[in-house]
Symmetry: C2
Subunit: 306 residues, 2 copies
Protein backbone atom coordinates (compact mmCIF):
# COMPACT_ATOMS: atom_id res chain seq x y z
CA UNK A 1 0.00 0.00 0.00
CA UNK A 2 1.65 3.20 -1.22
CA UNK A 3 0.40 6.55 0.00
CA UNK A 4 1.13 10.16 -0.70
CA UNK A 5 2.35 12.42 2.04
CA UNK A 6 0.16 15.38 1.29
CA UNK A 7 -3.49 15.01 2.23
CA UNK A 8 -5.16 14.73 5.59
CA UNK A 9 -8.60 13.16 5.53
CA UNK A 10 -9.97 16.00 7.58
CA UNK A 11 -8.95 19.61 7.21
CA UNK A 12 -6.08 20.65 9.42
CA UNK A 13 -6.65 23.35 11.99
CA UNK A 14 -3.92 25.94 12.13
CA UNK A 15 -3.93 28.23 15.14
CA UNK A 16 -1.91 31.29 14.31
CA UNK A 17 -2.25 33.13 17.59
CA UNK A 18 -1.06 32.23 21.05
CA UNK A 19 -3.84 31.23 23.39
CA UNK A 20 -4.95 33.83 25.93
CA UNK A 21 -2.42 33.82 28.77
CA UNK A 22 -5.24 33.86 31.31
CA UNK A 23 -6.54 30.50 30.09
CA UNK A 24 -5.08 27.63 32.11
CA UNK A 25 -4.81 25.09 29.29
CA UNK A 26 -3.40 21.61 29.88
CA UNK A 27 -3.08 18.49 27.76
CA UNK A 28 -2.99 15.12 29.50
CA UNK A 29 -2.16 11.62 28.29
CA UNK A 30 -3.82 9.04 30.51
CA UNK A 31 -2.67 5.43 30.23
CA UNK A 32 -3.70 2.60 32.53
CA UNK A 33 -5.12 4.98 35.15
CA UNK A 34 -2.12 7.29 35.43
CA UNK A 35 -0.90 10.09 33.23
CA UNK A 36 1.36 12.94 32.36
CA UNK A 37 0.03 16.49 32.00
CA UNK A 38 1.57 19.55 30.33
CA UNK A 39 0.66 23.22 30.54
CA UNK A 40 -0.07 24.37 27.01
CA UNK A 41 0.73 27.82 25.65
CA UNK A 42 -0.64 27.24 22.18
CA UNK A 43 -2.34 24.58 20.10
CA UNK A 44 -0.24 24.74 16.94
CA UNK A 45 -1.89 22.12 14.77
CA UNK A 46 -4.64 19.50 14.81
CA UNK A 47 -5.55 17.18 11.98
CA UNK A 48 -6.59 13.64 11.21
CA UNK A 49 -4.65 11.49 8.77
CA UNK A 50 -5.82 8.24 7.18
CA UNK A 51 -4.50 6.45 10.29
CA UNK A 52 -4.66 8.64 13.36
CA UNK A 53 -5.24 12.04 14.86
CA UNK A 54 -2.18 14.28 14.99
CA UNK A 55 -1.88 17.22 17.37
CA UNK A 56 0.99 19.60 17.96
CA UNK A 57 1.04 21.92 20.98
CA UNK A 58 3.58 24.23 22.52
CA UNK A 59 4.08 23.34 26.18
CA UNK A 60 5.68 25.48 28.85
CA UNK A 61 7.84 22.72 30.34
CA UNK A 62 8.81 20.43 27.44
CA UNK A 63 8.76 22.69 24.40
CA UNK A 64 6.80 21.58 21.36
CA UNK A 65 4.94 18.29 21.72
CA UNK A 66 3.47 15.92 19.11
CA UNK A 67 0.56 13.65 20.02
CA UNK A 68 -0.77 10.80 17.87
CA UNK A 69 -4.25 9.64 18.87
CA UNK A 70 -3.72 11.60 22.09
CA UNK A 71 -0.51 9.76 23.02
CA UNK A 72 2.75 11.66 23.52
CA UNK A 73 5.10 10.81 20.65
CA UNK A 74 7.87 13.30 21.11
CA UNK A 75 8.73 16.54 22.89
CA UNK A 76 11.51 18.94 21.98
CA UNK A 77 12.96 18.78 25.49
CA UNK A 78 13.33 15.04 26.07
CA UNK A 79 13.30 13.55 22.55
CA UNK A 80 17.09 13.22 22.64
CA UNK A 81 16.89 10.34 25.10
CA UNK A 82 14.65 8.09 23.04
CA UNK A 83 16.32 8.89 19.72
CA UNK A 84 19.91 8.48 20.95
CA UNK A 85 19.02 5.23 22.68
CA UNK A 86 17.33 3.52 19.73
CA UNK A 87 20.10 4.48 17.29
CA UNK A 88 23.60 4.67 18.80
CA UNK A 89 23.33 1.52 20.90
CA UNK A 90 23.03 -0.81 17.85
CA UNK A 91 25.23 1.34 15.59
CA UNK A 92 28.20 1.15 17.96
CA UNK A 93 27.67 -2.57 18.56
CA UNK A 94 28.32 -3.69 14.98
CA UNK A 95 31.50 -5.52 13.99
CA UNK A 96 31.87 -3.28 10.92
CA UNK A 97 30.34 0.21 10.60
CA UNK A 98 26.82 0.20 9.16
CA UNK A 99 26.25 1.12 5.55
CA UNK A 100 22.51 0.44 5.18
CA UNK A 101 20.01 1.14 7.95
CA UNK A 102 16.25 0.65 8.01
CA UNK A 103 13.98 2.62 10.33
CA UNK A 104 10.38 1.36 10.60
CA UNK A 105 8.11 4.09 11.93
CA UNK A 106 10.07 7.04 13.23
CA UNK A 107 8.38 9.49 10.88
CA UNK A 108 9.29 12.43 13.09
CA UNK A 109 12.87 12.02 11.85
CA UNK A 110 14.66 11.98 15.21
CA UNK A 111 16.05 8.48 14.78
CA UNK A 112 17.46 9.07 11.31
CA UNK A 113 19.02 12.34 12.53
CA UNK A 114 21.10 10.28 14.98
CA UNK A 115 21.84 7.48 12.46
CA UNK A 116 23.24 10.01 10.00
CA UNK A 117 25.88 11.09 12.52
CA UNK A 118 27.65 7.84 11.58
CA UNK A 119 29.77 8.66 8.49
CA UNK A 120 29.78 5.04 7.31
CA UNK A 121 26.08 5.18 6.51
CA UNK A 122 25.34 5.26 2.79
CA UNK A 123 21.56 4.84 2.94
CA UNK A 124 18.84 5.06 5.56
CA UNK A 125 15.40 3.87 4.57
CA UNK A 126 12.65 5.55 6.57
CA UNK A 127 9.50 3.44 6.27
CA UNK A 128 6.66 5.33 7.93
CA UNK A 129 3.00 4.42 7.37
CA UNK A 130 1.69 7.93 7.94
CA UNK A 131 3.02 10.60 5.60
CA UNK A 132 1.43 13.29 7.73
CA UNK A 133 3.82 12.54 10.58
CA UNK A 134 6.73 13.21 8.24
CA UNK A 135 5.16 16.30 6.74
CA UNK A 136 4.21 17.98 9.98
CA UNK A 137 7.45 17.05 11.72
CA UNK A 138 9.40 18.75 8.95
CA UNK A 139 7.12 21.77 9.21
CA UNK A 140 6.83 22.11 12.98
CA UNK A 141 9.83 20.29 14.52
CA UNK A 142 12.83 21.72 12.68
CA UNK A 143 15.31 20.27 15.21
CA UNK A 144 13.85 16.76 14.90
CA UNK A 145 12.74 16.45 11.27
CA UNK A 146 15.88 18.23 10.01
CA UNK A 147 17.47 15.28 8.16
CA UNK A 148 14.44 13.86 6.39
CA UNK A 149 15.53 15.64 3.18
CA UNK A 150 19.11 14.37 3.46
CA UNK A 151 20.09 12.70 0.13
CA UNK A 152 21.11 9.54 2.03
CA UNK A 153 17.47 9.10 3.15
CA UNK A 154 15.03 6.99 1.13
CA UNK A 155 11.42 7.63 2.14
CA UNK A 156 8.99 4.72 1.96
CA UNK A 157 5.61 6.01 3.01
CA UNK A 158 3.84 2.71 3.48
CA UNK A 159 2.99 -0.09 5.89
CA UNK A 160 6.16 -1.42 7.51
CA UNK A 161 4.79 -4.95 7.75
CA UNK A 162 4.20 -5.21 3.99
CA UNK A 163 7.48 -3.47 3.23
CA UNK A 164 9.45 -5.88 5.42
CA UNK A 165 7.79 -8.93 3.85
CA UNK A 166 9.12 -8.01 0.42
CA UNK A 167 12.73 -7.22 1.21
CA UNK A 168 15.64 -9.15 -0.24
CA UNK A 169 17.45 -11.27 2.37
CA UNK A 170 20.38 -9.66 4.18
CA UNK A 171 19.56 -6.13 3.04
CA UNK A 172 20.38 -4.12 6.17
CA UNK A 173 23.10 -3.79 8.80
CA UNK A 174 20.68 -2.39 11.36
CA UNK A 175 16.91 -2.40 11.59
CA UNK A 176 15.30 -0.02 14.09
CA UNK A 177 11.63 -0.52 14.89
CA UNK A 178 10.60 2.92 16.09
CA UNK A 179 6.91 2.17 16.38
CA UNK A 180 3.88 3.49 18.17
CA UNK A 181 2.16 1.28 20.76
CA UNK A 182 0.83 -2.26 20.10
CA UNK A 183 -2.70 -0.86 19.74
CA UNK A 184 -3.51 1.15 16.59
CA UNK A 185 -1.50 1.50 13.36
CA UNK A 186 1.60 -0.04 15.02
CA UNK A 187 -0.09 -3.33 15.95
CA UNK A 188 1.43 -5.41 13.13
CA UNK A 189 4.92 -4.40 14.26
CA UNK A 190 4.65 -6.61 17.32
CA UNK A 191 3.97 -9.93 15.56
CA UNK A 192 6.04 -13.05 14.94
CA UNK A 193 5.53 -12.73 11.19
CA UNK A 194 6.96 -9.22 11.14
CA UNK A 195 10.03 -10.19 13.16
CA UNK A 196 10.64 -13.29 11.06
CA UNK A 197 10.70 -11.10 7.97
CA UNK A 198 12.95 -8.62 9.79
CA UNK A 199 15.43 -11.33 10.72
CA UNK A 200 15.49 -12.39 7.10
CA UNK A 201 16.21 -8.83 5.98
CA UNK A 202 19.07 -8.46 8.44
CA UNK A 203 22.69 -9.09 7.43
CA UNK A 204 24.35 -12.03 9.23
CA UNK A 205 26.14 -9.79 11.71
CA UNK A 206 23.36 -7.18 11.85
CA UNK A 207 21.38 -5.92 14.82
CA UNK A 208 17.66 -5.32 15.20
CA UNK A 209 16.43 -2.97 17.92
CA UNK A 210 12.79 -2.28 18.68
CA UNK A 211 11.12 -0.04 21.19
CA UNK A 212 9.52 -2.51 23.58
CA UNK A 213 7.31 -0.29 25.77
CA UNK A 214 7.19 0.77 29.40
CA UNK A 215 8.62 -1.53 32.07
CA UNK A 216 6.51 0.18 34.73
CA UNK A 217 3.22 1.01 32.98
CA UNK A 218 2.90 -2.04 30.70
CA UNK A 219 4.90 -4.90 32.29
CA UNK A 220 2.74 -7.69 30.85
CA UNK A 221 3.02 -6.11 27.42
CA UNK A 222 6.82 -6.05 27.72
CA UNK A 223 6.88 -9.72 28.66
CA UNK A 224 4.68 -10.59 25.69
CA UNK A 225 6.82 -8.64 23.20
CA UNK A 226 10.01 -10.36 24.41
CA UNK A 227 8.25 -13.70 24.13
CA UNK A 228 7.62 -13.01 20.44
CA UNK A 229 11.18 -11.78 19.86
CA UNK A 230 12.67 -14.84 21.54
CA UNK A 231 10.53 -17.11 19.35
CA UNK A 232 12.24 -15.57 16.33
CA UNK A 233 15.79 -14.46 17.19
CA UNK A 234 18.56 -16.67 18.59
CA UNK A 235 19.95 -13.81 20.69
CA UNK A 236 17.65 -11.32 22.46
CA UNK A 237 18.43 -8.94 25.26
CA UNK A 238 17.02 -5.59 26.32
CA UNK A 239 18.15 -2.23 27.58
CA UNK A 240 16.43 0.62 29.33
CA UNK A 241 16.55 4.36 29.88
CA UNK A 242 14.27 7.07 31.20
CA UNK A 243 11.90 8.91 28.89
CA UNK A 244 10.17 11.24 31.35
CA UNK A 245 7.16 11.99 29.15
CA UNK A 246 6.33 8.38 28.23
CA UNK A 247 3.98 6.36 30.47
CA UNK A 248 5.87 4.96 33.44
CA UNK A 249 9.06 6.75 32.28
CA UNK A 250 11.33 3.67 32.44
CA UNK A 251 11.44 2.65 28.77
CA UNK A 252 12.84 -0.49 27.14
CA UNK A 253 14.39 -1.44 23.80
CA UNK A 254 15.30 -4.89 22.53
CA UNK A 255 18.69 -5.84 21.08
CA UNK A 256 18.40 -8.86 18.77
CA UNK A 257 20.93 -10.62 16.55
CA UNK A 258 21.18 -13.75 14.46
CA UNK A 259 23.35 -15.43 17.07
CA UNK A 260 26.59 -14.92 15.20
CA UNK A 261 28.48 -13.69 18.24
CA UNK A 262 27.50 -10.04 18.03
CA UNK A 263 26.54 -8.79 21.49
CA UNK A 264 26.16 -5.20 22.71
CA UNK A 265 29.80 -5.27 23.83
CA UNK A 266 31.57 -7.83 21.62
CA UNK A 267 32.76 -5.25 19.10
CA UNK A 268 32.12 -2.03 21.01
CA UNK A 269 35.02 0.40 20.68
CA UNK A 270 34.71 3.26 23.17
CA UNK A 271 37.39 5.23 21.34
CA UNK A 272 35.04 5.76 18.38
CA UNK A 273 32.20 7.27 20.40
CA UNK A 274 33.48 10.79 21.00
CA UNK A 275 34.15 11.58 17.32
CA UNK A 276 30.75 10.36 16.13
CA UNK A 277 28.39 10.93 19.04
CA UNK A 278 30.27 13.50 21.11
CA UNK A 279 27.46 16.02 20.77
CA UNK A 280 24.89 13.63 22.24
CA UNK A 281 23.05 14.77 25.36
CA UNK A 282 22.46 11.27 26.75
CA UNK A 283 24.55 8.63 24.99
CA UNK A 284 28.22 8.04 25.78
CA UNK A 285 30.49 5.00 26.17
CA UNK A 286 29.59 4.56 29.84
CA UNK A 287 25.88 4.76 29.08
CA UNK A 288 26.31 2.13 26.33
CA UNK A 289 27.27 -0.39 29.00
CA UNK A 290 25.02 0.93 31.76
CA UNK A 291 21.72 0.65 29.92
CA UNK A 292 22.13 -3.14 29.70
CA UNK A 293 22.48 -3.46 33.50
CA UNK A 294 18.83 -4.26 34.02
CA UNK A 295 17.11 -3.73 37.38
CA UNK A 296 15.92 -7.01 38.89
CA UNK A 297 12.25 -6.47 38.05
CA UNK A 298 13.17 -5.67 34.43
CA UNK A 299 15.29 -8.83 34.15
CA UNK A 300 12.23 -10.86 35.11
CA UNK A 301 10.14 -9.23 32.39
CA UNK A 302 12.75 -9.42 29.63
CA UNK A 303 14.48 -12.71 30.56
CA UNK A 304 17.35 -12.26 28.09
CA UNK A 305 18.13 -15.16 25.76
CA UNK A 306 21.89 -14.91 25.39
CA UNK B 1 13.35 21.18 69.12
CA UNK B 2 11.73 17.96 70.32
CA UNK B 3 8.24 17.09 69.27
CA UNK B 4 5.74 14.40 70.02
CA UNK B 5 4.42 12.18 67.28
CA UNK B 6 0.81 12.13 68.30
CA UNK B 7 -1.09 15.32 67.51
CA UNK B 8 -1.98 16.92 64.23
CA UNK B 9 -2.74 20.63 64.44
CA UNK B 10 -5.97 20.07 62.56
CA UNK B 11 -8.22 17.09 62.97
CA UNK B 12 -7.52 14.25 60.60
CA UNK B 13 -10.20 13.19 58.16
CA UNK B 14 -10.69 9.47 57.91
CA UNK B 15 -12.72 8.22 54.98
CA UNK B 16 -13.99 4.77 55.80
CA UNK B 17 -15.85 4.04 52.60
CA UNK B 18 -14.60 3.69 49.05
CA UNK B 19 -15.55 6.60 46.84
CA UNK B 20 -18.43 6.05 44.46
CA UNK B 21 -17.11 4.10 41.47
CA UNK B 22 -18.94 6.41 39.10
CA UNK B 23 -16.92 9.40 40.28
CA UNK B 24 -13.87 9.97 38.07
CA UNK B 25 -11.50 11.17 40.80
CA UNK B 26 -7.88 12.10 40.02
CA UNK B 27 -5.05 13.62 42.04
CA UNK B 28 -2.37 15.58 40.19
CA UNK B 29 1.00 16.95 41.24
CA UNK B 30 1.98 19.88 39.06
CA UNK B 31 5.58 21.07 39.17
CA UNK B 32 7.14 23.64 36.84
CA UNK B 33 4.23 23.43 34.39
CA UNK B 34 4.11 19.68 34.01
CA UNK B 35 2.70 16.98 36.21
CA UNK B 36 1.78 13.44 37.03
CA UNK B 37 -1.84 12.42 37.57
CA UNK B 38 -3.32 9.32 39.24
CA UNK B 39 -6.83 7.89 39.19
CA UNK B 40 -7.99 7.71 42.80
CA UNK B 41 -10.21 4.99 44.21
CA UNK B 42 -10.37 6.34 47.73
CA UNK B 43 -9.09 9.21 49.82
CA UNK B 44 -7.80 7.34 52.86
CA UNK B 45 -6.54 10.15 55.05
CA UNK B 46 -6.05 13.92 55.07
CA UNK B 47 -4.56 15.95 57.90
CA UNK B 48 -2.28 18.86 58.61
CA UNK B 49 0.74 18.51 60.88
CA UNK B 50 2.75 21.32 62.42
CA UNK B 51 4.80 21.40 59.21
CA UNK B 52 2.77 20.32 56.22
CA UNK B 53 -0.40 18.82 54.86
CA UNK B 54 -0.41 15.03 54.60
CA UNK B 55 -2.74 13.11 52.32
CA UNK B 56 -3.00 9.41 51.63
CA UNK B 57 -5.01 8.08 48.68
CA UNK B 58 -5.47 4.70 47.06
CA UNK B 59 -4.66 4.93 43.36
CA UNK B 60 -5.59 2.47 40.66
CA UNK B 61 -2.18 2.38 38.97
CA UNK B 62 0.41 2.88 41.75
CA UNK B 63 -1.28 1.50 44.86
CA UNK B 64 -1.37 3.65 47.98
CA UNK B 65 0.17 7.10 47.62
CA UNK B 66 1.36 9.63 50.23
CA UNK B 67 1.44 13.33 49.42
CA UNK B 68 3.07 16.04 51.56
CA UNK B 69 1.89 19.56 50.72
CA UNK B 70 0.45 18.05 47.54
CA UNK B 71 3.77 16.57 46.37
CA UNK B 72 4.13 12.84 45.74
CA UNK B 73 6.36 11.36 48.46
CA UNK B 74 5.96 7.67 47.92
CA UNK B 75 3.75 5.11 46.19
CA UNK B 76 3.49 1.44 47.00
CA UNK B 77 4.28 0.46 43.43
CA UNK B 78 7.48 2.38 42.72
CA UNK B 79 8.87 3.19 46.20
CA UNK B 80 11.36 0.34 45.89
CA UNK B 81 13.42 2.25 43.36
CA UNK B 82 14.03 5.34 45.48
CA UNK B 83 14.56 3.41 48.72
CA UNK B 84 16.91 0.80 47.28
CA UNK B 85 18.93 3.48 45.51
CA UNK B 86 19.49 5.78 48.49
CA UNK B 87 20.48 2.91 50.81
CA UNK B 88 22.29 0.02 49.12
CA UNK B 89 24.57 2.14 46.94
CA UNK B 90 26.44 3.67 49.92
CA UNK B 91 26.12 0.57 52.12
CA UNK B 92 27.90 -1.64 49.60
CA UNK B 93 30.57 0.99 48.91
CA UNK B 94 32.05 1.03 52.42
CA UNK B 95 35.46 -0.48 53.18
CA UNK B 96 34.02 -2.19 56.27
CA UNK B 97 30.35 -3.01 56.79
CA UNK B 98 28.35 -0.21 58.41
CA UNK B 99 27.48 -0.37 62.10
CA UNK B 100 25.85 3.02 62.61
CA UNK B 101 23.65 4.71 60.03
CA UNK B 102 21.83 8.04 60.16
CA UNK B 103 18.78 8.77 58.02
CA UNK B 104 17.67 12.41 57.92
CA UNK B 105 14.04 12.68 56.81
CA UNK B 106 12.75 9.38 55.49
CA UNK B 107 9.90 9.23 58.00
CA UNK B 108 7.94 6.83 55.84
CA UNK B 109 10.45 4.14 56.87
CA UNK B 110 11.35 2.82 53.40
CA UNK B 111 15.02 3.75 53.65
CA UNK B 112 15.57 2.16 57.07
CA UNK B 113 13.77 -0.97 55.86
CA UNK B 114 16.51 -1.38 53.25
CA UNK B 115 19.35 -0.39 55.62
CA UNK B 116 18.27 -3.08 58.07
CA UNK B 117 18.81 -5.79 55.46
CA UNK B 118 22.53 -5.32 56.19
CA UNK B 119 23.28 -7.58 59.18
CA UNK B 120 26.30 -5.50 60.25
CA UNK B 121 24.05 -2.61 61.26
CA UNK B 122 23.74 -2.16 65.00
CA UNK B 123 21.87 1.14 65.07
CA UNK B 124 19.93 3.28 62.59
CA UNK B 125 18.93 6.74 63.74
CA UNK B 126 15.84 8.00 61.95
CA UNK B 127 15.71 11.78 62.36
CA UNK B 128 12.40 13.00 60.91
CA UNK B 129 11.03 16.47 61.65
CA UNK B 130 7.39 15.47 61.27
CA UNK B 131 6.14 12.75 63.61
CA UNK B 132 2.92 12.52 61.65
CA UNK B 133 4.78 11.11 58.65
CA UNK B 134 6.09 8.29 60.83
CA UNK B 135 2.75 7.70 62.53
CA UNK B 136 0.65 7.56 59.39
CA UNK B 137 3.21 5.53 57.44
CA UNK B 138 3.14 2.88 60.15
CA UNK B 139 -0.65 2.97 60.12
CA UNK B 140 -1.31 3.09 56.38
CA UNK B 141 1.83 1.78 54.62
CA UNK B 142 2.55 -1.52 56.31
CA UNK B 143 5.03 -2.61 53.62
CA UNK B 144 7.03 0.62 53.92
CA UNK B 145 6.85 1.62 57.59
CA UNK B 146 7.31 -1.98 58.72
CA UNK B 147 10.75 -1.59 60.39
CA UNK B 148 10.19 1.65 62.31
CA UNK B 149 9.59 -0.36 65.50
CA UNK B 150 12.71 -2.48 64.97
CA UNK B 151 14.82 -2.38 68.19
CA UNK B 152 17.85 -1.29 66.14
CA UNK B 153 16.01 1.95 65.20
CA UNK B 154 16.38 5.11 67.29
CA UNK B 155 13.69 7.65 66.50
CA UNK B 156 14.62 11.31 66.72
CA UNK B 157 11.52 13.30 65.90
CA UNK B 158 13.11 16.69 65.43
CA UNK B 159 14.73 19.09 62.99
CA UNK B 160 17.60 17.38 61.16
CA UNK B 161 19.63 20.58 60.89
CA UNK B 162 19.71 21.11 64.68
CA UNK B 163 20.26 17.41 65.29
CA UNK B 164 23.24 17.30 62.94
CA UNK B 165 24.83 20.39 64.52
CA UNK B 166 25.05 18.68 67.90
CA UNK B 167 26.49 15.32 66.92
CA UNK B 168 29.85 14.08 68.16
CA UNK B 169 32.48 13.94 65.39
CA UNK B 170 32.81 10.69 63.45
CA UNK B 171 29.55 9.22 64.75
CA UNK B 172 28.21 7.47 61.63
CA UNK B 173 29.40 5.15 58.87
CA UNK B 174 26.71 6.34 56.49
CA UNK B 175 24.47 9.40 56.46
CA UNK B 176 21.47 9.35 54.13
CA UNK B 177 19.67 12.63 53.51
CA UNK B 178 16.21 11.45 52.49
CA UNK B 179 14.64 14.89 52.39
CA UNK B 180 11.68 16.60 50.80
CA UNK B 181 12.31 19.37 48.28
CA UNK B 182 14.44 22.50 48.90
CA UNK B 183 11.25 24.52 49.49
CA UNK B 184 9.33 23.90 52.73
CA UNK B 185 10.42 21.99 55.85
CA UNK B 186 13.37 20.43 53.98
CA UNK B 187 14.97 23.76 53.04
CA UNK B 188 17.71 23.69 55.71
CA UNK B 189 18.88 20.32 54.43
CA UNK B 190 20.33 21.92 51.31
CA UNK B 191 22.71 24.41 53.01
CA UNK B 192 26.50 24.55 53.42
CA UNK B 193 26.14 24.69 57.20
CA UNK B 194 24.16 21.44 57.28
CA UNK B 195 26.63 19.58 55.06
CA UNK B 196 29.62 20.87 57.03
CA UNK B 197 28.05 19.44 60.17
CA UNK B 198 27.28 16.22 58.31
CA UNK B 199 30.86 15.83 57.15
CA UNK B 200 31.97 16.31 60.74
CA UNK B 201 29.58 13.59 61.93
CA UNK B 202 30.83 11.14 59.31
CA UNK B 203 33.51 8.57 60.11
CA UNK B 204 36.77 9.01 58.14
CA UNK B 205 35.86 6.31 55.61
CA UNK B 206 32.14 7.04 55.72
CA UNK B 207 29.78 7.96 52.88
CA UNK B 208 27.07 10.61 52.72
CA UNK B 209 24.31 10.31 50.17
CA UNK B 210 21.56 12.84 49.62
CA UNK B 211 18.62 12.92 47.28
CA UNK B 212 19.52 15.73 44.89
CA UNK B 213 16.32 16.27 42.91
CA UNK B 214 15.18 15.85 39.32
CA UNK B 215 17.73 16.13 36.52
CA UNK B 216 14.97 16.89 34.04
CA UNK B 217 12.46 19.01 35.98
CA UNK B 218 14.86 21.00 38.19
CA UNK B 219 18.26 21.13 36.40
CA UNK B 220 19.33 24.46 37.87
CA UNK B 221 18.42 23.23 41.35
CA UNK B 222 20.57 20.12 40.84
CA UNK B 223 23.52 22.29 39.77
CA UNK B 224 23.12 24.48 42.85
CA UNK B 225 22.94 21.53 45.26
CA UNK B 226 26.12 20.00 43.84
CA UNK B 227 27.81 23.39 44.11
CA UNK B 228 27.08 23.39 47.85
CA UNK B 229 28.21 19.77 48.27
CA UNK B 230 31.48 20.43 46.41
CA UNK B 231 32.18 23.44 48.64
CA UNK B 232 32.09 21.06 51.62
CA UNK B 233 33.24 17.57 50.59
CA UNK B 234 36.59 16.67 48.98
CA UNK B 235 34.97 13.92 46.88
CA UNK B 236 31.52 14.36 45.31
CA UNK B 237 29.88 12.41 42.54
CA UNK B 238 26.29 11.58 41.67
CA UNK B 239 24.17 8.74 40.45
CA UNK B 240 20.76 8.48 38.89
CA UNK B 241 17.78 6.20 38.43
CA UNK B 242 14.19 6.46 37.31
CA UNK B 243 11.43 7.23 39.79
CA UNK B 244 8.39 7.32 37.50
CA UNK B 245 6.14 9.24 39.90
CA UNK B 246 8.60 12.02 40.75
CA UNK B 247 8.73 15.17 38.59
CA UNK B 248 10.81 14.56 35.49
CA UNK B 249 11.32 10.91 36.53
CA UNK B 250 15.12 10.88 36.14
CA UNK B 251 16.22 11.31 39.77
CA UNK B 252 19.65 11.97 41.24
CA UNK B 253 21.53 11.19 44.47
CA UNK B 254 24.92 12.44 45.57
CA UNK B 255 27.77 10.24 46.79
CA UNK B 256 30.16 12.21 49.02
CA UNK B 257 33.19 11.13 51.05
CA UNK B 258 35.98 12.74 53.03
CA UNK B 259 38.46 12.03 50.25
CA UNK B 260 40.09 9.06 51.96
CA UNK B 261 40.04 6.88 48.87
CA UNK B 262 36.50 5.53 49.22
CA UNK B 263 34.75 5.67 45.85
CA UNK B 264 31.56 3.89 44.76
CA UNK B 265 33.70 1.01 43.44
CA UNK B 266 36.93 1.03 45.49
CA UNK B 267 35.70 -1.52 48.00
CA UNK B 268 32.61 -2.85 46.23
CA UNK B 269 32.36 -6.64 46.46
CA UNK B 270 29.74 -8.01 44.08
CA UNK B 271 29.82 -11.39 45.83
CA UNK B 272 28.18 -9.87 48.92
CA UNK B 273 25.18 -8.42 47.10
CA UNK B 274 23.06 -11.51 46.55
CA UNK B 275 23.01 -12.61 50.21
CA UNK B 276 22.06 -9.19 51.55
CA UNK B 277 20.06 -7.54 48.78
CA UNK B 278 18.96 -10.54 46.70
CA UNK B 279 15.29 -9.74 47.26
CA UNK B 280 15.64 -6.22 45.86
CA UNK B 281 13.47 -5.32 42.89
CA UNK B 282 15.85 -2.75 41.42
CA UNK B 283 19.31 -2.92 42.98
CA UNK B 284 21.91 -5.50 41.97
CA UNK B 285 25.67 -5.53 41.36
CA UNK B 286 25.30 -4.46 37.74
CA UNK B 287 22.99 -1.60 38.71
CA UNK B 288 25.52 -0.47 41.36
CA UNK B 289 27.97 0.33 38.56
CA UNK B 290 25.43 1.44 35.98
CA UNK B 291 23.81 4.22 37.99
CA UNK B 292 27.12 6.13 38.07
CA UNK B 293 27.38 6.13 34.26
CA UNK B 294 25.83 9.56 33.92
CA UNK B 295 24.21 10.72 30.68
CA UNK B 296 26.08 13.67 29.15
CA UNK B 297 23.54 16.29 30.21
CA UNK B 298 23.62 14.98 33.80
CA UNK B 299 27.45 15.12 33.88
CA UNK B 300 27.24 18.80 33.00
CA UNK B 301 24.83 19.47 35.89
CA UNK B 302 26.67 17.38 38.50
CA UNK B 303 30.30 17.95 37.36
CA UNK B 304 31.75 15.31 39.68
CA UNK B 305 34.71 16.33 41.88
CA UNK B 306 36.73 13.13 42.04
Amino acid sequence: MMMTTTASVLTATETQTTQSPTMDLWVTERFNNAGFTFKVNRVVHSSRSEFQSLDIVDTEAYGRLMLLDGCVMTTEKDEFIYHEMISHVPMFALPTPAKRVLVIGGGDGGTIREVLKHPSVEEVVLCEIDGDVIKYSQQYFPTIGCEIDNPKVTLEVRDGVAYMANLAPESFDVIMVDSTDPIGPGEGLFTQRFYTDAMNALKPEGVLVAQTESLMALPEGVKKIYGVLKDVFPYVTGYCATVPTYPGALWSWSFCTKGTGVTPFSHFDASQVEAIAGDCQYYNAGVHHAVFALPNFAKKLIQPKV
